[in-house]
Assembly symmetry: C2
Homo-oligomer: 442 residues x 2
């Protein structure tokens, strides 16, 4: 994409109403625009990141055997009366009356509607287990929306729902998602700690929140140092064992009761980005989601639900990956892999070399943003650091005299002169989309 | 995907409340489930088609130079007061009051919000033209929702908005979208006729509806036979010239006034799937969307908007592609390219060969649905015809005795015996996703 035509309204000014780094940086980097309190438009750069995050979540759900569907945003109140939650839910539910006077609502979650779908079609124990997920916009009418997309009212969530015949099956589904979540966050370059959450009366200890570690995190997390040594490429069963390690949020952590030796206790700030829990027959019983068992008996299915805050993750990734100059995207979610800076637009040598690099990267399916504007080098450097693409290729008249361009690694800040021959030789054919451009370093 | 675990609730029964073929077939093929009047969940098979349609729309918008963003579903009423449409819009607008008593609405369209975004950031004539699009769920509270996804209340739409400095620029943007629309529908295997629509007072004849031809179409379209000879791979400027050809919907067609010689007049049923129009400064003037011109003057931008009914298209494609047995997907939007039928699950030879074919297709990134259930051949044949995958590979004990399987082309119904060697030799390496499997025929 050429910067000169790209709709990317960056700004130097720090927005006065943004209290945290990710909110400030998303506004400054032209990723989002507030439409009303807690409701945002995702501008092109922001949407690219959101889609990359969404796709990683999707791939890990698919890999774990969950199946994607899409439920509507607007739901009928009657379903929520069946589960008994309609009157209880409170003011966070956006309630709507349609033109015929029917009570509707903008879904804050989808347990009722997925249970209705399940009970309509699944009749036999042979069809279990099932795990259905969606990635859909939800609405919670927060009394004080703030922190940008971290606590918005309209937000994108991955939510899924498992259906099992018995508690043992439900536990397998739970463990499966537990492991999938660890893999999902790791692929985004995040360290996530699974913290036991309060599951209420049902389900014993089968409820975990996943907190992404970031210095600017909203709450303090205490956890076993063993988490720091985990190999996430390990076997899934082994990863599920991580549930046994100690981890607690500050409101649950009791220094005196903590079973860990002091030298094994770690403390860090965390941001909650996922929550999984088992809730048994809480919805299936009142809503009649049953199957026929092997002996003809009626079995009420055991359910669990699993959520990831997809739009929130974009903010959390920035909280965990930024410096004073701006965002530092992990390659897996970066809106473009490479930023190409032409220091002297209008200079034939600079223009020609930039165009050759730009075309070559596109040919190799490397996402590249080419800053071809007539702005000063200082403006371009600051802008490219702000939007945080992993790699910068800087082309200027001085370097070209000796046949070189500069490569900058945004994360380390390391810069390196590289000959054009060497640059092009490092772009072999058939690179997959979003390759590790670490090869540019050598 | 294995059919035995796939959440694909097909049914033989014809739903009594579905009046048109696409609605009936989408329900029977387990693509959608009604949640409330005009509001549907998209089950896994349906969602796959919806995403394929969406992706074609996206690629053609990107190719035309439009840039994707995403605006929220919930909009503030105050913006619609600025344009003057809030009170005028009527009961189709789903109006909402939030917990703080603020008036909101579920967007039926997004002119106001995109104009607000534009005016916030774009200040100079140098930044024009701009063309911004989104693919987002919308809500129109139809008094009588019907025909399934063809006239739903919550529906997926691609809408974009062009911003130009003057009428000549607006015309270029319009022509650009006109051509992009023809290409989009063609890629879905549809024939679409652009019909002049009533643009109201503004814009002269710059408004077209695109009607997909289907025998079961909702209205009659009269058009120049020259449309039947159009080469859509032709040059874009040439395609824009198609605006000059005669085409009219039944309510506008006047037999006496029609300029066409009778032998050039064609009549066919059509389904409206797109609408483009130029509306000048209708929103930019009241909302103050202006840029500074080359001489420092203030210029109110010229706008157009362009819509494609993405979820409606799924229904329209079925209306144009089905027979008595079920749906016949064009390859470009098919949920899977191949349906693999094992006629005798439990027979070792059948199971082994099916598994080898299944694994080979997956290796080559061919989307395949493997019917590995213990159902009768009749049930499997009917089910596979119903869901309409372009190719069927049928593996049975009788054929295997002579080393052959049967390939069926769903559209033509043609069947062909093929040796296993020949089948595998026709699956070369590195097939792209969604290849034309016509190679299976030879």
């Amino acid at each position: 994409m050429r910067r000169s035509v790209y709709f990317l309204p960056t700004t130097k000014e720090t927005p006065s109403d943004a209290q945290i780094a990710s909110h400030r940086l998303m506004l400054r980097a032209g990723m989002i625009r507030q439409s009303s309190a807690g409701i945002y438009s995702w501008l092109p750069l922001g949407l690219r990141v959101l889609r990359n995050v969404e796709q990683i979540v999707r791939e890990e759900q698919d890999a774990a055997g969950a199946q994607e569907l899409l439920m509507p945003t607007i739901q009928p109140a009657e379903l929520w009366r069946e589960s008994g939650r309609y009157d209880d839910y409170g003011k966070e539910m956006l309630r709507i009356t349609d033109r015929h006077g029917r009570e509707m609502l903008f879904g804050p979650t989808h347990e009722e509607i997925v249970t209705e779908i399940f009970r309509a079609y699944v009749k036999s124990y042979r069809d279990l287990p099932k795990n259905l997920y969606q990635i859909q916009w939800k609405f919670r009418d927060e009394v004080r929306p703030r922190f940008g997309v971290m606590r918005g009212r309209e937000f994108l969530m991955k939510d899924n729902y498992s259906f099992d015949l018995d508690m043992a099956g439900a536990k397998r589904s739970y463990d499966n998602m537990f492991v999938a979540y660890l893999k999902t966050f790791t692929r985004m370059g995040l360290r996530a700690i699974p913290v036991k959450a309060d599951p209420g009366a049902i389900g014993g200890d089968m409820s975990h929140e996943f907190h992404v570690l970031a210095e600017t995190g909203e709450s303090e997390i205490f956890y076993d140092a063993a988490f720091d040594q985990v190999d996430l490429s390990g076997d899934p069963a082994g990863l599920a064992e991580l549930q046994k390690l100690y981890a607690a949020a500050e409101d649950k952590h009791d220094v005196k009761a903590c079973p860990l030796a002091p030298e094994r206790l770690r403390a860090a700030r965390g941001i909650e980005v996922g929550h999984i829990f088992y809730f048994g027959t809480k919805y299936s019983a009142p809503m009649g989601a049953t199957v026929t068992g092997p002996n003809g008996e009626t079995i009420t299915v055991e359910m669990g639900s699993y959520g990831i805050g997809v739009s929130r993750l974009v903010g959390a990734i920035i909280e965990a990956n930024h410096d004073d100059a701006g965002i530092i995207w992990p390659e897996s979610v970066a809106p473009f892999q490479v930023g190409l800076i032409n220091l002297k637009v209008g200079d034939k040598a600079c223009d020609d070399v930039c165009m050759e690099i730009y075309a070559t990267l596109l040919e190799h399916a490397v996402d590249v943003l080419y800053d071809d504007r007539g702005e000063s080098p200082g403006v371009k450097f600051a802008d490219m650091d702000l939007i945080g693409l992993p790699w910068q290729i800087v082309v200027g008249p001085r370097g070209l005299k000796s046949g070189t361009v500069e490569i900058k690694d945004r994360r380390s800040g390391a810069r390196q002169e590289m000959s054009l021959d060497s640059l092009f030789s490092k772009l072999p054919g058939d690179l997959p989309r979003g390759p590790s451009l670490a090869l540019l370093e050598g």
